[in-house]
Symmetry: C2
Subunit: 253 residues, 2 copies
């Protein structure tokens, strides 16, 4: 078991850098915080590279860590966890997870959610968590969307990255592929030709495209999709939060 007592330790400096997307991409790994996420990683065969514990949490999480190889454990101080953490209350356990394991995860449906330039990390994380709850097969993040491994996305996502399939891709290309595979593609949009979501014919393969918080789905993606869809509103609000809208759509099919 590696022991680190200073934030100036070279190995730790590398870990600290993972708060930047550039380094997460470069090293193909990311940091998760707290018991719940570490437990999800262990139970769902996440690619656990290291688990950071303190002397206290090593005892506290003895059962959880029973299957973990001692070489994977790193004993650190509470100050070090504080140094690494992005949470309001610093957790007593963290882990470094490889993005590597991209095997297709089994899910209850073939449905997909496509995110076009959704910028708020909380919205992105919440939509992935909701897609997971709705039994969706996966979420595809197009260019401009918040990074899956951003600390705020990880917090809102609550471990769903271990349950469903996530990937970053060019949405126009993905849509063409999905059409060939028999998917019905629905873009969310407020326009006169859009249909109400209750009119969607449930098919085995549905993909919804959610758009940017301000601008909505881009015109070229709307044109590439089969049908525009909207959520009829009875009140005076002009629009719904994108994560709430995605929840209503995903739980309707």
């Amino acid at each position: 078991m590696k022991i680190i007592e200073s934030t100036k330790n070279e190995w730790l400096k590398q870990v600290k850098k993972l708060e930047k997307k550039k380094f997460r991409d470069l090293e193909n790994r990311y940091l998760i915080e707290g018991e719940h996420l570490v437990e999800e990683a262990i139970n769902n065969e996440g690619d656990i590279q290291h688990i950071l514990v303190t002397e206290t949490s090593l005892v506290e999480f003895e059962n959880l860590l029973a299957t973990i190889d001692e070489e994977q454990l790193v004993l650190v101080t509470e100050d070090i966890l504080k140094h690494l953490s992005h949470l309001p209350s610093v957790p007593s356990i963290m882990a470094i997870i490889g993005k590597g394991n991209q095997e297709r995860k089994e899910t209850k449906t073939n449905h997909l959610l496509l995110l076009d330039n959704v910028q708020d990390p909380g919205n992105v994380g919440t939509m992935i968590r909701t897609a997971d709850a709705a039994g969706f097969a996966g979420v595809v993040l197009g260019e401009g969307s918040a990074d899956i491994y951003n600390s705020k996305v990880l917090r809102s996502m609550q471990g769903s990255q271990f349950h469903l399939n996530l990937r970053e891709a060019n949405l126009l290309e993905i849509i063409e592929t999905l059409k060939e595979e028999g998917y019905q593609i629905y873009a969310t949009e407020l326009n006169p030709e859009a249909i109400a979501y209750q009119q969607i014919e449930t098919s085995e393969k549905i993909a919804f495209i959610m758009g940017n918080e301000g601008q909505g789905v881009s015109q070229e993606l709307i044109e590439a999709s089969h049908q525009a869809v909207y959520i009829p509103m009875m009140g005076k609000a002009e629009s719904l939060n994108v994560a709430v809208a995605a929840g209503i759509l995903m739980f309707s099919v």
Copy 2:
């Protein structure tokens, strides 16, 4: 038209204090930021006490401000707006709104949303916005819930406070009153006696109780309600974000 050029101005110091709940409660007023919210306040007869503009925005928003009494306008500098703002990009218009106008607003349904100790301001604001979109009559905030006039709630709510009825109250007392008025009260809960939300019989008067992000609805409120209700999940996520869950429920009735 009042002109203020320094953040040290005494009147402005009082305005700055409105970022604290204590002062909003004491003075029964709050600050809104940006064109969209000011427009909502004007169009929906909000109790506008003052509108803060700069020399530039006074011209920019000439049409919007056409109906505003000159005595209500306060000319300030961009630095002053920056001093008052809680937004990442400082808006060029703000307004001080009285909470006073508590007349019952007309809505499409009699349905209500009750929030039990929902702490995250983004969740509270998003749920009020969603209740508005679903045509709900109002939202009742129980003790422990984020303040309606907190800057983050205001941002997520997007002006819905001008469309539907909001009040703070003791939820146990409210539930007793609502029952007498013929409301069916549903508490969201994961327990074996809860029914799936699809089984809810739509009635004219429905109230949903949403609970704290971690603990859910308190036991005494569950017992006071007619029926516990849950959203069946197909995937592996353990729960939904409370605002997404509220959206799915509200748009189902």
